[in-house]
Symmetry: C2
Amino acid sequence: MKPLEWIDGRLKFLDQTKLPLEESFCETDDVVFIADAIKRLAIRGAPLIGIAAAYGVALASLSLNRSMIKDARPHLLSVLDLLSSTRPTAVNLFWALERQRRVLDAWQSDSITGLQDNLLNEAKLIHQEDVEMCERISSIGVELLPNDCSILTHCNAGALATGGRGTAVGIITKAWELGRLKHVYMDETRPLLQGARLTAWEMKQAKIPATLIVDNTAAVLMQQRKIDAVIVGADRIAMNGDVANKVGTYSLAVLAKHHGIPFYVAAPVSTIDVRMGTGKDIPIEERDAREVTESFGKRTAPESVHVYSPAFDVTPHEFITAIVTDQGVHRPPFSASLKRLNVRREHAG
Amino acid sequence: MKPLEWIDGRLKFLDQTKLPLEESFCETDDVVFIADAIKRLAIRGAPLIGIAAAYGVALASLSLNRSMIKDARPHLLSVLDLLSSTRPTAVNLFWALERQRRVLDAWQSDSITGLQDNLLNEAKLIHQEDVEMCERISSIGVELLPNDCSILTHCNAGALATGGRGTAVGIITKAWELGRLKHVYMDETRPLLQGARLTAWEMKQAKIPATLIVDNTAAVLMQQRKIDAVIVGADRIAMNGDVANKVGTYSLAVLAKHHGIPFYVAAPVSTIDVRMGTGKDIPIEERDAREVTESFGKRTAPESVHVYSPAFDVTPHEFITAIVTDQGVHRPPFSASLKRLNVRREHAG
């Protein structure tokens, strides 16, 4: 099952808000619909929203015809702005949009179809690269794991979050294929339960032995020595190795360090933001209070209660054992290791 | 609003499962109904379930008449067993039942009304003692707090969990009354959201400035230096100071220690189990998977997913800055301090 596919000039995507109850697909040729899908987390996961946004720009170009050649550039620039404004934290979004901006910049304002082809090809390339990056991350990351290991993961950094087999979950499924995996523990990941709804669903599809816990139980499993490694994805990585990821990641990292458990971050190099020296300046999205107080259709807190709901947190690099990218395993000091990476400087705008 | 009241031979209690949407009271003279209310967490909180169980024994005795005098003892012993079997972790339950067992033991099998009076008086005494214990804990505990402090609390150790003003929340409301409190942060406390449903409701009633967070955000607030102290209740305290409390407490304690934030446990001495040398042998209740997978009336995880859902965890004493009881503040080494306490040995049964 692919969370996102380009079919005959339309983008088909799985509405992930409906999982695990329904496997419901949407098809659209409307970039506004894509932007909305990203905003409401129907399409989510740092790599996947980059891919979706790239296709969104291609879709927007397809609605243009030859008579609109003069309006094409300003129109597509506003589409880039629209897509940029959907979610602030995952840098892959801006990275993918920057790649499309370069395609637009390179356009000679000659042929609309040429522009359309180039934008679509760039989107397909981003998509295909992500498939390959996931494969490489999985193959590289699995070598870090001991035999017969039990892994804890948070949120969903799986096939549903990427164009391919996933990052953190890619490593887990690879370990399973190689007979190295004993068990997976999944944090449900409040508030939006991506662990319960999405990772548990992926583990079920893959028939991997897995146990769901509330986030509060992660420390208990560590105390019981049931966890051999923690593996998570990332939404943005600073050049010193600080990692922004789903809220709860920082908590897990501190707990893992205390219990002497390796803590791995898995992400494609497109997640590394060369403009960010440290994690301090990474913008952290705050989500609507209702995701906490009535996220499952039932009010579970008093009316008008004040809620603080950051969607992400920043884990300082000193808590991270290694960062697994498609270009290899990076260990502290990350500054040196990440600097040597071939990070495409699309971020730099 | 009292969560539990004895009125004219019946026990009236707030059904806490319905909060915050409904303030719904039940009245009963049936001990089986009380046992069920404890099991399904309509009555919850370690001190409160002790009080409710004591009243339950009194209620059971009231259904006896003079012709049943021979059956009274075996009947009430089976009632003690029934109430003992409701929940395994909070020791206050067993402590209160043991006090009623002693009343029964002291009974000369002479007058049924004498027995009824004695059981009811003992229940009222346990209730009244708890009110006073809460007051003392609050007055003693508040002295530990700096001025203008922000407190993080977990689950609900408030008026809804006790006969009085609460333990952890009692300290918080006392700090508010004395003008020492700046802000309260409340973990929602998955899976059953006692923080969101109950503590947030209590804070709203008391008009105390409070912010609700998902449990994953606690570490973020600590990282941001927004928390001056963590205060939680307890379900059972071992003689070395290990504390069983709502799952997530251990996680918070490790995080607090890492961030250099004092971590306080507040509980009446009835929570101390003189038979437990360490926390290792404290029985930990496991709850139904459905509380995790469909607790909000909507299924949020795939069918047949395996769930591990301990209701409590054990925080080793080395993470605890101080234990505040009605008999004073206990600091490490707890073994020495707790041994000097005047813990009624009802537990020893």
